[in-house]
């Protein structure tokens, strides 16, 4: 695709005024996407951003591409139709934790299961931002909000576990404090042929400020974020002193490398067919207060839905020739009246 014109971030930025609260994590995610696009070798007109409703879902307005701001929760379904109709397009889906895990949970699951070629970015701020601060399906138990004055009592979703359970073939996690890491993850999602799911820890400084601070603040990252790198033993820590092993029960566990030796560490294999190790890694941390893996959990190629659907069309045309309406109308027994 050498004929794709050279662009800059400005080319990908729409003329719309950005209306998130000052200091919202959504800004840095938008910047990461706008900075990445010129590097992706794609045309603006072949790129589409589709969203549901929420603060996160305002995203398409700010991209100088095709875009649709849909209805709450339904972006993966809207995008599935577009991607099936026009498999050559690059379709991105953006939404919040309420949008994609509550009202639209079903559509997220099924788009991942079908493996439709979508890049799905879930901005997880563990809160309902747009509706002014109710708890969300990713809020921690005990969350006190306007709708849960005595604390929330329901178990939150772990988005990575949910995606893996939904047969997702590409699953990654990043956070709004590290532009380069976001760009790396978004690029990987773009390059992946199939449904690519990226959870982005996003700070809502108005209704849930600091939700991820314990792990994403600059001085905490080394000890609290566990970078997943394909083919490498999983290690982290100020001095790289910590590592991850799979214990005899099959769970992932943080250990001191000094205690177990480097060779005992789990070597990350994102291409592993069996998702159970990726799942174990997703359970390593109970929330953004414990060491938490970021990076690509899983990237396993399998047949893409729209491609398969197009193949069936091509095959049908090969077998029966292009559709002939006249012949279709006469395809059942007919009789003549004279």
């Amino acid at each position: 695709m050498t004929d794709v014109p050279t662009t800059t971030k400005a080319d990908w930025t729409s003329d719309q005024e950005v209306r998130w609260c000052p200091g919202c994590g959504d800004y840095s995610i938008l910047t990461a996407v706008q900075m990445l696009m010129p590097d992706l070798d794609v045309r603006r007109e072949d790129t589409v951003f589709i969203s549901g409703i929420g603060c996160a879902a305002r995203f398409p307005y700010y991209m100088n591409t095709y875009g649709m701001h849909g209805i709450h929760g339904r972006a993966p379904a809207l995008a599935t139709g577009l991607a099936m109709a026009r498999p050559e397009l690059h379709v991105w889906v953006v939404g919040g934790d309420g949008d994609m895990l509550s009202i639209g949970g079903n559509h997220l699951l099924h788009s991942l299961r079908r493996n439709v070629n979508l890049n799905i970015l879930l901005f997880n701020n563990q809160i309902y931002g747009l509706t002014k601060g109710q708890y969300s399906p990713t809020s921690e138990i005990g969350k006190v909000t306007k709708s849960t004055p005595a604390g929330s009592i329901d178990e939150p979703f772990n988005p990575i576990s949910v995606a893996l359970g939904a047969e997702a073939s590409f699953v990654a996690r990043t956070h709004d404090m590290d532009r380069q890491h976001m760009m790396d993850m978004f690029r990987r999602a773009h390059d992946f042929p199939g449904a690519a799911f990226v959870e982005v820890f996003q700070n809502c400084n108005v209704f849930n400020d600091g939700a991820f601070g314990a792990i994403t603040k600059k001085d905490k990252r080394a000890s609290m974020l566990i970078p997943l790198e394909h083919g490498k033993p999983i290690r982290f820590g100020e001095n790289n002193e910590k590592g991850v092993v799979i214990n005899p029960q099959g769970s992932a566990e943080v250990v001191d490398v000094a205690d177990v030796g480097e060779s005992a560490l789990l070597v990350h294999d994102e291409t592993r067919q069996d998702p159970s190790l990726a799942f174990a890694l997703s359970r390593l941390s109970a929330g953004p207060f414990e060491p938490t893996p970021i990076g690509v959990y899983r990237a396993v190629e399998r047949s893409e839905y729209a491609t398969e659907a197009s193949k069936q069309l091509a095959m049908a045309q090969e077998q029966s020739g292009p559709g002939d309406l006249e012949a279709l109308l006469h395809s059942r027994p007919t009789w003549e009246v004279s």
Binding site: Y61, M68, M84, A85, L313
Partner: protein
């Protein structure tokens, strides 16, 4: 059964014949009715059918709840309904007899499978004594035929398992009826061998049973006459027998061809709409993409996403599914993209009567969304006409860039009739133009694309599909400014946009056919005003009333939103207006409020269509009032 020497019996001619096949769900009555219908169609009769089956796939055997029936009227002249009271009832078990006898005309013919009238089945059906012997059927002509015994007998040497042999008894019944009513045997024999190509034993058993049924008629000396219904005098041309769902599916394919826009169907299975999904899933060589979505919301959203991408997005469902799709239809109203939403109505509320017919979703179609959210509505009125209704709905959606609701119902969906096949070269050209370049010049001279800049005539906005250079734009459900499409929450702007969307739909009235009007147009004392599947029964009823010398006109509305421009004049022209509907008067209410006329509703919400006889007596009642 050894004596197969043909006996000569006389043949009497009938103008029309109504047969009702009834049996247990597992007895194959729908198939039997369907074959009888097909043979009659190929023979050249006019006909109309009414399949009625329980919602359960296999309701408890032998019970009243498990009875499945199929009614067909065949005639030598143009008919529009499956008939009022059947002349003949074929009852395969006591439950079928008990449940269906009420429909039979006084003095009608009953043909029963005598073998099924055993103690256990009689009890299940709630009979205290055997109706075949207790004199309760004295007012009818009763033929007791040991169908199971004979079928097993003729299959004995074929190597078929006794259980499979017994299952062929419906073909025995079909054979007997085919003989009695002089239906051609060959189409059925051909069908059996084609259908059971890979199950030779079953094919043999069905063929043997069918032939045995015919031979039984010849030889049993039960019947003094056979009957014949001559081919109907119909408009010349090539005919096929078609049901509403098939015709509708083909209409969608035709619309896509005529528009040169690929078809995308998003659907979630639901009775009685699923057959459209099945049919279109087989039309991949026409470039039709189908998605069986995870639910109705996803189905309509995917269709809308495909429309954004330049396809004709369609979703098919029934009332419960429409309820789920409401929010997305509203989005389509705001996005101003083509979208076809097809409701094959069934009995409600909730699960209601999933396999029965009803047309009670008109108000849902009109108003079943939040905000001011007008949507054009087209309604089909006969099984074959579903083809043209689909093309018309697609035409409006594509030309005016709007979601359109197409209403059909269970009766049209499953009922069939002969269809004079149209010449495909006469179908309307639905070609659409996609936007290719900028359409607006900014003050500083830059050429830009405005997604909501309208065609002055159609008030449609440009259809600019992703992939087109220079036209990148964002659309969404938030209120926007006309022209630029930019978000705009200003009071004046919203007021303007609300009225604009209303006007966009209202002005389509300039581009739809006049109301169908028949009968005593000039001097009727009564106008019968209908929409949807009541067309057949109204047509017959009005004809009967007029034959008696009554002055009656029949108007039938195919475009329910906007209404045809001539409708106001029509409803005010006649002293009385009667509106029969399979709901509690929804259209009647619209007519009364739109035109301030004293229209009267005739409601039937029982899961079965009006008969012509019922409507005939309503017509007389109103006229004698």
């Amino acid at each position: 059964m050894t004596d197969t020497v043909p006996r000569t019996v006389g043949t009497q001619e009938l103008n029309r014949l109504v047969v009702r096949f009834a049996g247990d769900s597992g007895d194959g009555m729908q198939l039997t009715g369907d074959r009888f219908t097909s043979a009659s169609a190929l023979f050249g009769n006019d006909l109309a059918t009414l399949p009625e089956f329980p919602a359960e796939i296999r309701a408890p055997q032998g019970t009243l709840a498990g009875v499945s029936a199929f009614q067909v009227q065949v005639s030598d002249h143009d008919i529009t309904t499956p008939g009022d009271a059947p002349n003949v009832l074929v009852a395969m078990n006591p439950a079928a007899l008990r449940k269906e006898l009420v429909h039979l005309e006084f003095g009608g013919t009953i043909i029963v499978n005598q073998d099924a009238f055993i103690e256990r089945n009689l009890t299940k059906a709630g009979y205290d004594s055997d109706p075949l012997d207790d004199g309760s059927l004295d007012n009818y002509t009763l033929f007791k035929v040991p169908m199971t015994t004979i079928t097993k007998e003729v299959c004995k040497d074929l190597g078929v398992k006794p259980r499979d042999a017994e299952r062929s008894k419906n073909f025995f019944a079909l054979g007997l009826l085919s003989w009695l009513y002089n239906r051609p045997a060959q189409p059925t024999l051909d069908w059996i061998s084609a259908k059971f190509k890979r199950q030779q034993l079953i094919a043999d058993a069905n063929t043997a049973a069918f032939k045995a049924g015919m031979a039984f008629g010849e030889t049993a000396e039960l019947f003094d006459f056979t009957y014949e219904v001559k081919p109907a005098v119909l408009e010349p041309g090539t005919y096929t027998n078609v049901n509403g769902n098939t015709a509708l599916s083909w209409g969608l394919v035709a619309a896509s061809q005529q528009a040169k826009v690929p078809l995308f169907l998003g659907s979630y299975p639901i009775t009685p709409a699923s057959d459209i999904l099945h049919e279109l899933s087989q039309r991949k060589n026409f470039g039709v993409r189908t998605l069986q979505a995870e639910d109705e919301i996803a189905a309509v959203c995917a269709a809308l996403g495909a429309s954004f991408g330049g396809h004709l997005g369609i979703t098919t469902t029934s009332g419960p599914g429409i309820a789920l799709k409401g929010e997305t239809i509203g989005l389509a109203v705001s996005l101003e993209l083509p979208l076809l939403v097809i409701n094959i109505q069934r009995g409600g509320p909730s699960t209601g009567l999933p396999t029965k017919t009803e047309s009670a979703d008109l108000m849902q179609a009109m108003y079943g969304r939040h905000g001011e959210s007008p949507v054009p509505i087209v309604a089909a009125y006969s099984p074959s006409q579903c083809f043209f209704a689909a093309i018309e709905a697609a035409r409006i959606a594509l030309k005016y860039r709007t979601p359109v609701i197409l209403l059909s119902d269970g009766y049209l969906a499953n009922g069939s009739e002969p269809w004079l096949l149209p010449d495909v070269s006469t179908l309307p050209d639905l070609t659409v133009e996609f936007a290719t370049g900028p359409n607006h010049t900014e003050e500083d001279g830059t050429e830009v694309f405005w997604p909501y800049l309208r065609d002055p005539e159609t008030k449609a906005r440009p259809w600019a599909v992703p992939g087109t250079p220079g036209l990148t734009h964002r659309i969404g459900g938030i209120e926007k400014e006309d022209g630029s499409g930019n978000i705009n929450y200003e009071p004046d702007n919203h007021g303007y946009m609300v009225k604009l969307r209303e006007e966009r739909v209202a002005h389509i009235a300039n581009d739809i056919p006049p109301t169908m009007l028949e009968g005593d147009i000039d001097d009727a004392d009564l106008l019968v005003l209908g929409w949807g599947s009541t067309w057949g029964a109204i047509t017959s009823a009005v004809m009967r009333a007029r034959e008696e010398g009554r002055k009656v006109a029949h108007a039938h509305v195919t475009h329910l939103n906007p209404l045809p421009k001539d409708l106001g004049d029509i409803v005010r022209r006649y002293p009385k207006v009667l509106v029969p509907e399979m709901n509690l008067g929804q259209f009647c209410r619209i007519i009364r409020s739109e035109f301030l006329v004293d229209a009267q509703s005739v409601a039937k919400v029982e899961g079965v269509p009006f008969t012509a006889a019922e409507l005939h007596s309503h017509i007389n009642g109103v006229l004698d009032d």
